[in-house]
Subunit: 346 residues, 4 copies
């Protein structure tokens, strides 16, 4: 007997990707999809690529519509999940793809988001190494409220956490630059997201450490054992619909061999995170549509820095795939159930 | 009476861009174009976009064919310029777009290139600030042998040199990540340069400080007054034919105001390098086809780092435009003659 | 107990896509992968996106290596399948993604391909309507030798066949122009397939009816009942890794209502081919990674022509998906088994 | 003494391209730029690529602001030029890049545009062959009101007119499919123009002969001598910022040699329109930034059709370049003055 699922905010890119994954999942059945502006439309009008779900119609996003489902995925604008969740039963599994419940530090919330602070939920990054040993996946088993990490956050965190946890890199002068596709910005009608603006061009935004994902990375790497974690990161928008390629660097505090060993150990048994052989580096396109993170590692002896290149699909492991992976853990399914490992490439 | 020009290696991307600029230049006349594999073909078969020069035919790249021109531009593979140049008269202006004559330090050459060391020529970056005051442009006046900088080098150097020269940033822990288009790799038949591989994907190469442009940036920033210059840089290949967007960062050693002032002062009167207003950052596409560098600057107070984003067209200011600009200076023409300022955007 | 599968030519794009689909298929197990130049390499070196199959190593493409598998998929250059197939047992299911066994007319083979004619195998397009009623799927049940259609062929044929079969359009003046991605040309080291050449540009090839897929469409539409089938078709290479969007047009011979009805009837029960509502037209990207064809239909009353826009993924429904779909039918599995319906979009 | 120029609607893509060309033109000086929503902003905030004009500020689009200039270029939404032009002196040269004054047939206007009919101005396509002999350029000399053709219209018309004028193709069953970039749709905030929607995908619009450019092509080809001109045309949006590649086809009514000769004769002396050698076909990217049209021609003997592939930059020869070229003719300058011939490629 399958688990019934509702997706709120189904007309956006994250919502669409949740539906694509959930539709192929053997234990979930999508029964309810909701939207705001597009409520009342057939799903096929908004997401013609979701052929398997073309029988669905978008409804209004209200607690009444969402209740009744065993699991509710929220893919709403920041700040919108509180009003919904307050009206859902405690035993419904709620998985929020937005930022509202990610930060444990209210002052960080105030500094980067502002507005009402909603408190933190169980953090949906199973592979995050924790200072005391083990990973975050233990905390997800049986959880009923889960906050899905930000996409850039996942790329940087999974890139650097093994070195932080093993104490082989310094945490206090991290620099990360990410090539990112425009789907990460959502289906927003902004001039800078028009195809004519983005085709043939690269541009940086959130320059100077102002991006909201900054405190979330700091929180993660602190949890991994980092002390005085400081990160400068810059996302660069490039002409690919999906994908993140994060180039992250930190000062070395150990030998080259010890450094590589830290990552090898951390990810040896992870189903979705893979360290590539020495000398090889990932392409973001190799993770398209998959819940996979590919990582390449190099040491710059001259600069005394490790360089970690991590690739993922912002809509899958960066959002919807992490949500489903966390749901699998919360509900006691196999963690990998229904999640593609192989990217759609080229 | 116009100056006669020969372009060796005319069938590649750098060669084609030299021809496009030279054809529109009021003082130069292209009389000779040479190639290797494509010798004997009409130029129009290789560069159908160069309509104004479709009367030309590609000849063999030999000293005999090239001699007779007042100026010879070399757009050859690394290592190929020596054999040609040895046979050209001393008073012919020779401008080498390759790497053979860029490095003044033979040990750096040995470490990153290897093979015979050819010695350094006058370096073709007019805007480079020099430790003793002034810029490199003075050295270019009357020069007869000029080495054109590497494209990534120009983006990083012009991004960071003002801060180094003014002493407001530390030179010993520079990190730079560049989004670059595949035309920078030339017209090479390599699987990783196929369109199907690059469309929809970003990938890093030369990771770990191994890229050959590294010692050239160190040389430049040392010339600008940097002490113990150390750079970690990573180019990331993204799906745009042309363009570089460099995100470069350095530790602050002065106040935010002093930092911005350093860049403002440095580029206030530069015709081709422009600092954007605070809070705005460049798109690489805004420089397409132009000899322009656009720079945005931000300060990350938390991380204690300045972040400089610099955009240019790798084939113009990164190669062919710098070559023509240097030729203008060498021959006593106005520095800006024949060089487009406005990008072809969107 | 799963069916063992070998894929010959596994290092190319079609081979890689076969592996992606087969790996996710519940009844197939990939036991052997072969290549030519890449033999001896781990599959992960050639296809890093195929994480689930990274334990495999590429072997030489020989009959001995391939025999033993229950099913052999061939993704070889044209002309290479004959030598292999002759040495495989008759009861092994062989599915050829190349052109060698598609054409029933030897003179058409001679005119467009040349070289030895290999004879036609059962044609792997289940949805093709046949003049006598029914579809080609019946012929595929129990087949042991299957020729997979060309990708452009599938887009044009499935676009026009319903109208031909229903007699509502004329078959003698068909015009089709296709926007296609470069993966359709394979992983060939050709200058015109370099990313720098294709990014930012569209170009036509095979202009003037010379493309080898022409006689195959004629064969199909003749099978569908067309008389004097004549097609002018032109593929246009555009900057997207995958996908085909075919715009096909034919003279009307019936009323607008009768025309739309022909397509509605033909595809009402097809699992993979879907007619969109009137006034809507497909995007090729909506089929990425899926075995789906999306079709939009309009009538140009002024010109007396129907215009059919059909979208598919050249590597899935255009090649590897059609191969798996045909294998499902041949072996008695559900036709849709293991084949994704939902595209990876955006 | 230079000619003073005002550009109305300067903040859009057509307006920006007009400014880029005018800024490089030796006889024009841009004195006034106007906008609607962006009035009051520095031009550099809207078009950072126009470095040479960064001293300008956008003003309101009113007759008072525009009057005083010797030439006024209008790059306004359809329907907006009438109210402006009525208040400009008769001797000011007004060049409208919009559709308001293109159609000579009021009923065609009513059928495809609707609203008030404004009457036709002198048509700005110098190369259009006229039935009585000669070309449209004669009519442009001394004109004071000029309507710039539509971008798709130019690609199709210049592709087919020579054959129509020479009587070697039939005019009554023309089919044209165009690969077009999204800049042709302007800087409109529409979901379907977002980068995430367009990257990796091709899609058709205006399917079924509904595109407003249809009657304009019919008008042109009738002027060229066509009888009963009927056109089915479909634009296909592809992931490139600029450019049009039109594949146009018509029934042959003469021998292959006579057909090729018609195009050769027509364009032998044209500065901006070039027929490529037999067997070669253009890439749209070869015309980027240039006022050039490249044409390839093939004959499909089986289908009895000629196929003409024409490439141009929609913002240059498709809009702003045609405007400047027409202005040159109207004012008695050399037709080619200030217009680039060479594309920015790759």
């Amino acid at each position: 007997m399958s688990v019934s699922v509702a997706v709120a905010g189904a007309s956006g890119y994250a919502g669409g990707e949740l539906l694509r994954l959930l539709s192929a999942h053997p234990e979930f059945e999508v029964v309810t999809v909701t939207a705001h502006q597009n409520a009342g439309q057939p799903l096929a009008a908004v997401h013609p690529h979701l052929v398997s779900l073309r029988h669905l119609v978008l409804q209004e996003t209200t607690p009444a519509v969402l209740s009744g489902a065993d699991v509710v995925f929220l893919a709403l604008p920041h700040g919108a999940s509180g009003a919904i969740t307050a009206h859902l039963p405690d035993d419904v599994l709620v998985i929020d793809c937005g930022a509202d419940h990610r930060l444990t530090d209210e002052s960080a919330w105030a500094a980067f988001y502002g507005g009402e602070y909603h408190g933190a939920w169980t953090y949906g990054m199973p592979e995050l190494r924790l200072a005391g040993g083990g990973t975050q996946r233990t905390n997800l088993v049986g959880a009923t409220r889960i906050a899905v990490p930000g996409c850039n956050v996942t790329a940087i965190t999974l890139g650097l956490a093994p070195g932080i946890a093993a104490g082989v890199i310094a945490a206090d002068d991290l620099v990360s630059v990410l090539a990112v596709g425009p789907s990460g910005a959502g289906k927003s009608l902004r001039t800078d997201l028009l195809a004519a603006e983005i085709l043939g061009s690269a541009s940086a935004y959130g320059v100077g450490g102002t991006h909201r994902h900054n405190p979330e990375v700091v929180q993660n790497l602190t949890a991994a054992g980092g002390s005085g974690v400081t990160l400068n990161f810059t996302p660069v928008l490039v002409p690919m619909a999906r994908g993140i390629l994060a180039t992250s660097t930190a000062k070395l505090t150990a030998s080259a061999a010890a450094v590589r060993e830290a990552w090898e150990t951390a990810y040896a048994d992870e189903p979705f995170v893979h360290l590539l052989p020495a000398g090889t580096f990932p392409k973001s396109g190799d993770t398209t549509g998959a819940n996979t993170v590919l990582i390449g590692l190099a040491i710059d002896e001259r600069a005394g820095r490790v360089v970690v290149v991590s690739a993922l699909d912002n809509l899958v492991k960066g959002t919807a795939g992490a949500a489903v992976q966390s749901a699998n853990l919360a509900l006691g399914f196999a963690e990998t159930l229904g999640l593609p490992l192989d990217g759609v490439a080229p």
